[in-house]
């Protein structure tokens, strides 16, 4: 065995090990992981793009088929980030292998970097696959590509983080799928993924503004077409607040050991 050795100030080997372990699961099922979003995207184009889009030519100067692309990407990103983020930490809790993480010389920040980093990376990859698939169906323009990528990354990280928190909170697989299925997906559908909230009657429009996902989809659409339902700055701010709120929650969880430690 080695002599006197010390661990570095930052456990980069630990972060990398978690990241690599989590990505390996994704890559092992790469066929399935890639085929699913491609198929789903194609179906959305058939249903919304062709069937409905035929009766609805343009929204805010953008052809309907192209208009739904950002919302469609977000629909997948939000759900996938959450489920990947939650599964990564819930599964060790479920099988009991969490003992190793809890006894390892790894800080909360490093743990989150590993798990959330991997979950967000998977989502970004999926997002880019959907984007690429879309180009087979419609002509896309991306006015603000850098902002688009930045926003894609930020949103993926935010929802992976929220997923991570759900994964720690959940005590069963039912609870694990509860928030993505019953909160995030409906809010995404109602958040203007396939329509502009300007198309809603006044009262509904006001109610919709309480839906945080409206801001995310709207900002993402702005990255593509330069138009949005609500102010881009407000949207970015909202997403950043989500992210910081998530970080605060995670640091509280690790400090108190909530649902992780006795």
């Amino acid at each position: 065995m080695s002599g006197e050795q010390q661990i570095l100030g930052f456990n980069r080997y630990g972060v990398w090990a978690i990241f690599r372990f989590e990505m390996a699961r994704f890559l092992r099922t790469a066929g399935q992981s890639i085929l699913t979003p491609v198929l789903t995207t194609s179906l959305y184009f058939v249903v919304f793009g062709s069937a409905i889009g035929g009766r609805m030519s343009e929204v805010g100067g953008v052809p309907y088929g192209a208009f739904i692309v950002p919302g469609m990407i977000m629909l997948t990103i939000l759900a996938e980030s959450m489920s990947n983020g939650s599964f990564g930490i819930y599964f060790p809790k479920f099988t009991g292998t969490i003992y190793e993480l809890l006894s390892a010389p790894i800080s909360p920040v490093e743990t989150v970097l590993g798990y959330v980093g991997a979950a967000a990376t998977k989502s970004v990859i999926l997002g880019l696959i959907i984007l690429t698939t879309s180009t087979f169906f419609v002509d896309l323009q991306i006015r603000h590509p850098i902002a688009m990528i930045a926003f894609l990354v930020l949103t993926s990280a935010t929802f992976a983080l929220l997923g991570f928190i759900t994964g720690i909170w959940a005590k069963s697989f039912e609870q694990l799928s509860f928030i993505p299925m019953l909160v995030v997906t409906p809010l995404t559908f109602l958040g203007g993924a396939f329509y502009s909230i300007d198309m809603l009657p006044g009262a509904w429009r006001t109610i919709t503004l309480f839906n945080p996902i409206v801001y995310i989809i709207s900002a993402f659409r702005w990255c593509f077409y330069g138009t949005s339902d609500v102010g881009v700055e407000v949207s970015m701010l909202m997403t950043a607040i989500f992210f910081l709120g998530g970080l605060a929650a995670v640091s509280w969880i690790f400090k108190t050991g909530y649902r992780l430690k006795n």
Binding site: M1, N11, Y13, F21, P92, T97, Y99, S103, P105, N262
Partner: protein, 308 residues
């Protein structure tokens, strides 16, 4: 030499109100094999989990190789490894993937040669690319040990390492533990197979109802509390111990056909030759005899039952 692990005044009360540990003080010497014995629910696993950082203590301080496990958790945990009692594995991953994860988590760079050495020492090398779910229970237990050894710990906790393990694997495990000790690893194991502690440990601690009731060198303990007995199977049963044999500490058992002599095995004169001579003189004949030294198990059972 300073102890490698020093536990002082550690208590734990769970949120359910269960007091699992009551002011435990314990020092573990560098390079020893320490066996922590105790009935189920005595607090063995709680103590181990506290040292490893899985359970937060209610009071007390623990220093591992010079590092406070709470204030300086990184350096402390870097040196500690745990093989928990419950089988918990990354079922869908391969053996290598799982072991590699462990090494990284504990802050060590990827080192295929070391992983190969660990896997070979546990006869897991052939199975390295198998998914863990396809392995037998004993093999899974080996995987958990490989994971613990992957980061070259200085202090190794084995929580019930041989529970539900077949004889062959148990012997392998014992050899491995001795080999690790020879390499300078300090080993703390819990067990309720007393045979295991007797076979392996340098020192023994007995924990009962959250209290550490005894810590002693194994050999000293067995000398101090161990009794020796001579059992004589008599030719003819007796009604009572004959008065001529009153000088010896004798007991009549088994309907008078067995005579049991309890003596101090360490004394210069055991009294056995003179007893046998006197018996011949008075005409008490025996057909068979054996001696028995009380095992750690006997000692343990009497210690724990005394406190009930």
């Amino acid at each position: 030499m300073s102890p490698i692990l020093s536990i002082s005044n550690v208590s734990k009360t769970y949120s359910s109100g269960l007091q699992a540990l009551k002011r435990v003080d314990l020092e573990i010497n560098r390079g020893e094999i320490f066996a922590l014995l105790g009935p189920n629910g005595a607090g063995k696993s709680t103590l181990i989990n506290i040292v490893c950082g899985i359970v937060t203590p209610s009071t007390g301080k623990i220093v591992a190789d010079g590092h406070d496990i709470q204030k300086d958790y990184r350096q402390a945990r870097f040196k500690i490894a745990l093989v928990p009692q419950e089988l918990a594995t990354d079922a869908f991953e391969t053996v290598t993937t799982s072991v590699r994860l462990s090494r990284g988590l504990f802050g060590r760079p990827v080192e295929p040669a070391l992983i190969e050495k660990v896997l070979r020492s546990l006869t897991l090398w052939e199975k390295r690319n198998d998914k863990i779910m396809t392995l037998s229970g004993g093999m899974k237990r080996r995987v958990m040990i490989a994971k613990a050894l992957a980061h070259e710990p200085k202090i190794l906790f084995l929580d019930e390492p041989t529970a539900g393990v077949d004889v062959e694997l148990r012997k392998d495990m014992w050899n491995l533990v001795r080999q690790l000790r020879d390499e300078g690893v300090t080993i703390i194991l819990t067990t309720h197979y007393i045979e295991e502690a007797e076979e392996m440990a340098d020192r023994v601690g007995v924990i009962s109802k959250g209290e550490l009731i005894l810590v002693e060198e194994k050999t000293a303990l067995m000398q101090k509390l161990g009794k020796k007995q001579l059992t004589l199977q008599l030719q003819e049963p007796l009604n009572a111990v004959p008065p001529e044999l009153a000088d010896w500490n004798l007991e009549l058992k088994g309907d008078g056909s067995v005579l049991e002599y309890t003596y101090d095995g360490k004394a210069e004169r055991t009294g056995i030759p003179s007893l046998l001579r006197r018996m011949t003189d008075i005409g008490v004949a025996f057909k068979d005899l054996n001696t028995h030294q009380s095992s750690l198990e006997d000692i343990f059972v009497s210690l724990v039952s005394e406190r009930k």
